[in-house]
Every structure is written in C-alpha cells, then in structure tokens.
Amino acid sequence: MELDELYREAILDHARHPRNFGDLEGCDRSAAAKNVSCGDAVRLSLRISRENRIEEIRFCGSGCAISTASASLLTLAVRGKSVEEALQLVESVQRLLTGASAPQDKLSGDLAALAGVRRFPQRVSCAMLSWHALEDALRTGETNSA
C-alpha cells in the first residue's frame, strides 16, 4: 500500500472536514492526549446518558491529517454506543493498528480507513491519539478537565 492510497480513502476527507469539531458545552467528561514526540494534541468532550451511553461527543486540537481524521472518525463511530462497547472498540482499534490482531479482522464502516495505518508504524501513534484520550475519559469515569 502506498501512502497516498491510505490518505485517499476517508482520511483526507475527514482531515479536511473534521466532523464534530469543537468543544461540547456542559460535557460530563473530557480528556486530553498529547503526542510528546510530535506535539499533536487532542481533547475530547463527551455527554454520557443515564444508561451509560455516549450521547454526544466532540473533539478539538491540532495535529496531522491522520490524527485529525482518526479523531473525526472516532466521534462518528462511538456516538450512541455504550461505554462498554466504546471501550471494546478502543481495544479493537488498538489491536488492529499495532498488528496484534489478524489483518483480515476489519473495522466496520468508515473506520475501516484506519486499517491502512498499520502499514506505517511511525504513524500509529498519530492514529491512536484520540482513542487513548477516549479510553482515558471513559475509564476515569469522572469529569476530567485536563
């Protein structure tokens, strides 16, 4: 796979037109993550329902196309999911990108576009940035205004 194929799919679109970009006023939880080696930063803010479902989620920050697109895709993928489902998804993404799961394992929908990142190990930390923040926000289980 060449790099431009990776970008050509959903990535470039989401990088140029990130979905759910901004801060969520009156969020229940938030978490920030920073890639110290490149300076990319992302912050997620979430609203969680009484039934423990992600009702609303937004991200902001600055980063490369991969990290921006990944965060944008994340917001679409986890909205409506239960906290538990979302945490499972974090793990699937992590396993897929780091090559811990078999290559034929697929992510569904637009998220599938992230799979190509596994071919570019130096970019995995870009793609994982927002997912780490999500895990953080969901696990700490309390309002985190970092």
Binding site: E2, L3, D4, Y7, L12, R16, S37, C38, G39, D40, S62, G63, C64, A65, I66, F120, Q122, R123, C126
Partner: protein, 407 residues
C-alpha cells in the same frame, strides 16, 4: 573538495534505495551518515587493540590508552585548544552541557547569578540551565526578533547588568533556522563584560572550520555523531584554568586520586570528569571522523552545504503556500519550512515515499517554534554528500504533495 558524487561513495548507507527511489538523506542535523574509513578504524580497534584504558601495563592496554589519548590530542588540534587536557570526552553535546551546568553551579556560579541564553537554543542548551533554578540561578533570554533568527546582540550588556549574568551560553548555528551566530564577536563582547561563554557547536563542528582560539570562548560542546563519528561520543572543551576550578561530575573509577571509605580526592582535568570506562571505541571513531573531514576540507564542506541550502530555499520559495524560516543569506546547511494546509508530519511522510528523508517536528526547539505560532516544521539539512539533484527532487516532491492535499 572531491565532488559530492564521489564523496558519497565513501558512505555505505547512501547507496541504498528507499521506497524504490535512491535514498536522499536530508536529516543531517539530526545525525550524519558514517564514512567507511570511520567504520573501518573502529572495527580495527576492536579487532586489534581492544583493552581498557589507563589501567593495564600490558601491550594491548598500552595501545588502547595511546589510541584513546591520541584521539583527545586530535580533537584539541581540531578545535585549536591550547592542550589536550582541555578536552573532556562525553556522550555528546547534551551530556557536555549537563556536565558544565552541574559543576559550574557548584563553583563558578553563585546563588543569585544569572545565565543568559537565546530564544533559539536547543533543549540541550536550555533545560540543564533551567534545572539550576532550585539553586537560585536565574535565566534570562536574548529575544529572537523574527523568523530569520535575528538577535540584537547589543542587548547583552543591558541584560547582563540587570540580571547579574555570569555566563552566556548560545548556539553557534541554530538547528531549526540555519542561522549562524557571529560567535567570535559575541564572545568578545561577553568577555569585555566579564561574562563566561559557552558555545553549543553541535551544528557547526565538522561543518565549518572551528577554532576556540579565534572564537575566544571559555567552553564549547559538540557531538561526534553529527560529524561522521559514531553515536555515544562528544566533547566538552573548557579553558584549562576553568576546568581545573570545576568539581567532579560523575564519580567512580579513573577519576579519583585516592579513595577512602569516608572520602576521596580527584585527579586533574580532563580525567576528573571521565568516571568509569569511557566510550573508547567512540573516541577512536571521532578521531577517524576528524581525519576524514580534514581530508575533505572543512571550508569546502561549509561552502557546499550552505550553497545547497540556499538553492533549496530558493527552490522551495516558488511553491505556493510555503513559509521558509531562517536567514535570507548566510544560511548554514539547514532549511526549515511549513506548507499551508499540510501538517509537517503528513508532508514528510509523503516525502519519505519519494525516498527523501527529512525530519518533521519541533527540532527540540519548542519555545522558538511556539513564538512563531508553530508546533512543527519540516526540515531539510545537508551535508558534504548531498547533491543538487536531491534538492531538485525535494522541491518537486513538496510541490507534488501540495497538489495532492489541495485536491
């Protein structure tokens, strides 16, 4: 100088391809490639003369010691030091500056004294000085006035007086801007004000002629790996009387005169600062690197790299949306740039696909980039083996990437 096309053949790593293209290695400010002569010398040391230094009375150890100490003499000669005793071997520039900061803070610098830096320092020449804050040693900064890297050196006097500055530490060549600071002029000014000086020569050593006598500095540091030598070796130069006034840094074998259970006394410099078994192979590699560079000719290296950088800067300037940092003229072999709408990481990832190895990031210059409103730039940095056609490929690939992202 032998032409770069020919010099390249001395460097085994340069003959490889990357993503189907000939590798164009343009990250020399991070580390340079190593010529065969250096690799051969190090290997031959390990195959023939390998022993610990300063210890044995047998032949092998005498040869190892002689090889190690002759490397010290070679370095002294290379930078015009008054004697080999003025050269302390370290892991690199970072350790050299840490050594100086830690020991000066227990001798040359007093609580309430100031250290003056510039805003363009590499983290290696900033954070070790920050650490002295707990000892009551305060930092002040010469501002960088623009993206060209202009510093008003006239302000030294005013700042020095206001902040009781005792030491001025500055980079000779900025690793992100390619700006060359007028070291001799700066040191003369500092000396007239009674300041001590440290020159961070990480980006100038092995890239131009360098003489501590001409510069007139008190201390100077550089890394071997940025000038053809292996990793893990570098030096701190210090004027003999100043080095002698510094207490030890790391302690252990080789640096002590006498050890009792309750106290110890120290050897004279440079051994006082070299505790434990040093990087003997590294020092020998550094000597071989100096030999190699002097055969090539340092004036020619300087001319070649800065002319490539100027050529690159002018080529890149023609690309829409490009923003080039650093001086318009008299630029060292370094060109940092950003491309509107394309994050530096995406940009260098695309350049990598064309076989062009550039670095993207903050180049250990966070405060400076933050001042310019940037988190990262792409940086091309040149050395004696780079070619004009590599620059042409760079400019073309940046333009291609721009078009790709512009959609």
């Amino acid at each position: 100088m032998r032409p770069a096309e020919e010099l390249r053949t001395d460097f085994p790593a340069l003959s490889q391809t990357a993503h189907g293209h000939p590798l164009a290695y343009l990250d020399n400010a991070a580390t340079t490639q190593k010529p065969k002569a250096v690799l051969d010398t190090v290997r031959s040391f390990y195959e023939k003369d390998c022993a610990n230094v300063h210890r044995g009375l047998y032949d092998l150890s005498v040869r190892a010691t002689e090889a190690f100490e002759s490397s010290r003499r070679r370095v002294a000669d290379f930078i015009g030091a008054a004697s080999p005793e003025e050269i302390v071997f370290t892991r690199g520039t970072t350790e050299a500056i840490n050594l100086l900061a830690a020991t000066a803070s227990r001798s040359l610098l007093q609580r309430g004294d100031g250290v003056l830096l510039t805003e363009m320092e590499h983290h290696a020449n900033l954070v070790p000085w920050q650490m002295l804050g707990s000892l009551g040693i305060r930092l002040s900064f010469l501002p960088v006035e623009d993206e060209q890297g202009t510093i008003d050196w006239n302000r030294i006097e005013e700042i020095a007086k206001k902040h009781r500055v005792r030491l001025l530490a500055f980079t000779h060549v900025s690793n992100s801007l390619g700006k060359v600071n007028p070291a001799a002029e700066i040191c003369a000014r500092a000396r007239s004000l009674g300041l001590l000086t440290l020159v961070d020569a990480a980006q100038s050593a092995g890239h131009q002629r360098l003489s501590v006598r001409e510069i007139g500095c008190d201390f100077l540091a550089f890394s071997g790996h940025k000038m053809c030598a292996p990793t893990g070796i570098g030096i701190l130069y210090g004027r003999q009387e100043l080095l002698s006034s510094l207490p030890p840094y790391q302690t252990g074998g080789e640096m002590i005169a006498e050890v009792r259970l309750d106290q110890s006394s120290w050897k004279a410099p440079p051994h006082r600062f070299e505790a434990g078994t040093p990087n003997i192979g590294g020092a020998i590699g550094l000597r071989a690197a100096i030999d190699y560079l002097q055969t090539v000719g340092l004036d020619m290296v300087e001319k070649h790299t800065s002319s490539l950088a100027a050529y690159a800067a002018s080529g890149l300037a023609s690309i829409p949306g490009i923003r080039i940092l650093g001086p318009r003229d008299h630029r060292a072999g370094i060109v940092s740039f950003v491309l509107e709408g394309v994050h530096a990481h995406d940009l260098v990832a695309f350049l990598d696909q064309e076989g062009l190895a550039l670095r993207a990031g903050d180049h250990c210059n966070q405060p400076l980039l933050r001042k310019f409103g940037l988190a990262a730039t792409a940086r091309a940095s040149f050395y004696l083996y780079n070619l004009r056609e590599e620059v042409d490929r760079l400019v073309e690939a940046v333009e291609k990437t721009r078009r790709y992202f512009a959609g």
